[in-house]
């Protein structure tokens, strides 16, 4: 369970279930017990009425008058049944209501005791029964034991309890539902800033935003501020790292240039040729090692979206000056949906090497096309109308320092660097044939890439 609101809703639902369940049980038990108490009182009243109505007859036996005050006893199947039993014989009297029914009253209790019990009719109807044994003093002065039994059907009582339960469940369910709804609404409100932070972090990762916005609730504000600090220090760190690399390159290469300049003033001899070789080696190492892709020195925090068309335009304008004599027609075809998420320096390094190579090799035309990839990212192809690259040479070209034609100025490290940058962005480099007739180099960089 990863969502906070789902977690909260689940625990609140469980809590509600436990609390409401307990409440329902307590209320149900209380209602039922109160109902049973009143049921017993009613039975007690009926029994007292029977006791009062019983009269000994002339024969000295106890009998019931035909007209009883309770009309239900005279109605067949009314649900209220009574019986007057004498010890050791069949009941002396049975109410009219129990005509045709066998009401299984319990055995007579000890004289003077009254006992409540649950019995059942043959058809399964539950009854509550009250039995009272008495020693009746007959006119003859003799004491005879009699048992008064009254029973009432619990059908209507059970129906009442069931109705009460239904209502109880209905109301509690409604209340629980309203509470859950209210809680999830409150949660939405409470979680909105969190969701906002989540979205903004996504935008930062995609390079569409520089920092988290301000004005969050107090509890989250410090989180956001610390996060912004982290982001900017992270950015600063990678900037500093790159500046350090640049300065290092500068401070290593200027002396190399000075050595070379001084050397070229000397008459050429064996020593100067040897030194020259070493200068070239050092230069290659510095060039390759200090031109690491920015991705290796920063992480996703520093990443922004590069304005592809604008940067390519600057590059082409610049190269047009450099190749003014050759004056190649450099055509740009950039789909604005294409994206390069990363360092502008990396993008220029990729495109600079490729377009510069194309300008070097072309006869008169260079075509640079950038198209979006499915799921973000970009595919950049740089083609020319030059002699093309033999297939066997392609892999060789990607190796560091390899150069196919020593006569064309260039250091041969370019393509290896392009490959490194493309790979460090999760992309790839391919060679092909351009529609213009010469070589075409295709770079694909996916949109989403984590180191």
């Amino acid at each position: 369970m990863s969502s906070l609101s789902a977690r909260l809703l689940l625990s609140v639902s469980l809590l509600l279930l436990v609390f409401f369940g307990a409440t329902i049980v307590v209320l149900d038990v209380a209602f039922r017990e109160a109902g049973e108490r009143s049921q017993e009182d009613i039975l007690d009243g009926q029994l007292m009425a029977l006791l009062a109505a019983a009269e000994p007859d002339d024969g000295g036996e106890l009998v019931m008058p035909p007209d009883l005050p309770e009309p239900r006893l005279g109605t067949i199947g009314s649900g209220l049944y009574a019986e007057l039993g004498a010890q050791g014989s069949a009941p002396v009297w049975r109410s009219r209501s129990s005509l045709g029914l066998h009401v299984p009253f319990p055995a007579a209790p000890q004289p003077g005791n009254h006992v409540f019990s649950r019995i059942q009719l043959a058809d399964g109807t539950p009854l509550m029964a009250l039995s009272l044994s008495v020693e009746w003093e007959l006119p003859s002065g003799e004491f005879r034991p009699y048992t008064f039994n009254v029973a009432e059907s619990l059908d209507s009582f059970n129906a009442q309890v069931a109705a009460f339960r239904r209502q109880l469940f209905g109301w509690f369910a409604a209340v629980a539902l309203i509470m859950l709804l209210a809680i999830s609404l409150v949660m939405r409100g409470l979680l909105r800033p969190l969701r906002q932070i989540e979205e903004e972090i996504g935008e930062i990762e995609e390079g569409r935003r520089q920092a988290l916005s301000e004005g969050l609730p107090t509890e989250l504000d410090s989180v956001a501020r610390n996060m912004n600090l982290l982001i900017s220090s992270e950015r600063g760190r990678s900037d500093r790292y790159r500046t350090t690399l640049d300065n290092l390159a500068h401070s290593l290469k200027t002396p190399l240039a000075a050595i070379r300049a001084v050397l070229s003033e000397q008459p050429g001899n064996d020593v100067s040729r040897k030194i020259e070789t070493q200068i070239e080696r050092m230069n290659d190492i510095v060039r390759y090692q200090l031109r690491k892709p920015a991705l290796l020195v920063s992480d996703s925090f520093g990443v922004t979206s590069v304005a592809i068309e604008e940067q390519l335009r600057r590059l082409v304008d610049g190269l047009s000056k450099v190749y003014k004599d050759k004056n190649p027609a450099i055509e740009l075809d950039v789909d604005p949906r294409a994206e390069f998420r990363g360092d502008t320096g990396d993008f220029l390094e990729l495109s600079g090497n490729l377009v510069d190579n194309a300008c070097k090799w072309c006869r008169s035309r260079v075509l640079v096309a950038v198209t979006p990839l499915q799921g973000g990212g970009m595919c950049m192809t740089v083609g020319d109308d030059g002699p093309g690259i033999p297939e066997k040479a392609a892999e060789l070209l990607l190796q560091r320092g390899m150069r196919l034609d020593e006569s064309t100025p260039g250091h041969g490290i370019g393509l290896a660097v392009v490959k490194d940058i493309a790979r460090s962005h999760g992309g790839d480099i391919q060679f092909g044939r351009s529609p213009l007739g010469g070589a075409e180099i295709r770079i694909t960089i996916p949109g989403q890439f984590n180191k």
């Binding site: 290469k253 240039a257 060039r287 590059l315 450099v322 004599d325 220029l348």
Partner: protein, 228 residues
């Protein structure tokens, strides 16, 4: 042609300056961005070589300021940071070409010559006008296919005039650009050299390659041959 070299590394600056001077250029040298900018704006300069990593003021800022002040002479950048971003930044700021350190002097010289030639409107390193052709990479002057022997000074004058063929170039400008600072500036010397050049290029006075415009200066008068 007078070049300005702005480079903070003394050994490199001096060596580069010496070799360029040997190749026939007048040289100004500056060791930081501020001094470089001052020279670039105040001195007669035909081309500036600017290192990007300068103290006091970055090479990029120097280039931007030079361009902002309306100077249009070519600028060659020297850069140690050979990231494309730096090259593109430099070119966008107004530079015309770049050389990556550690360079060979020949590379710098080739770029300088190409930039100067281009800024004079020439497409090839051999400047041709009528029967006169000047090979700037070999520093060789030919008239009707015959090589003409020139002194270094004479070569610098004819190169300057031919580079900007058709334009009037004042005596002061020629003096400024052709003398090094330690020479005594005397415009009469220019007249003497122009006279010698005329005799060498046009002994029978039929071509009249160099015009004198009284009070204004000199002009290389022959039409450029369209090579392309």
């Amino acid at each position: 042609m007078r070049l300005l070299v702005i480079e903070d590394d003394a050994t490199l600056r001096e060596s580069l300056g010496r070799q360029l001077a040997e190749s026939g250029f007048g040289i100004e040298k500056a060791s930081d961005g501020k001094e470089g900018l001052y020279f670039a704006l105040e001195y007669p300069v035909d081309l500036a070589i600017v290192d990007l990593g300068l103290p006091e003021m970055s090479g990029l800022d120097v280039i931007r300021e030079v361009r902002k002040q309306g100077k249009t002479y070519p600028i060659l950048i020297l850069t140690a940071r050979d990231r494309w971003q730096d090259k593109v930044d430099g070119l966008s700021a107004g530079a015309d070409d770049y050389v990556v350190k550690p360079f060979h002097f020949e590379e710098v010289l080739a770029r300088v010559n190409a930039l100067l030639r281009r800024s004079g409107g020439w497409a090839s390193s051999v400047l041709e006008a009528g029967p006169v052709s000047l090979d700037t990479s070999r520093q060789e002057l030919k008239v009707n296919g015959d090589a003409v022997e020139l002194t270094g000074f004479e070569y610098r004058i004819i190169e300057h005039l031919m580079m900007r063929a058709g334009e009037v170039i004042s005596k002061t400008e020629l003096t400024d650009r052709l003398y090094d600072q330690d020479f005594e500036r005397d415009s009469n010397v220019i007249e003497v050299f122009i006279g010698r050049l005329r005799k060498k290029i046009d002994p029978d006075n039929s071509l009249k390659p160099i015009e004198t415009l009284r009070g204004r200066g000199y002009r290389f008068a022959l039409q450029r041959n369209r090579a392309d």
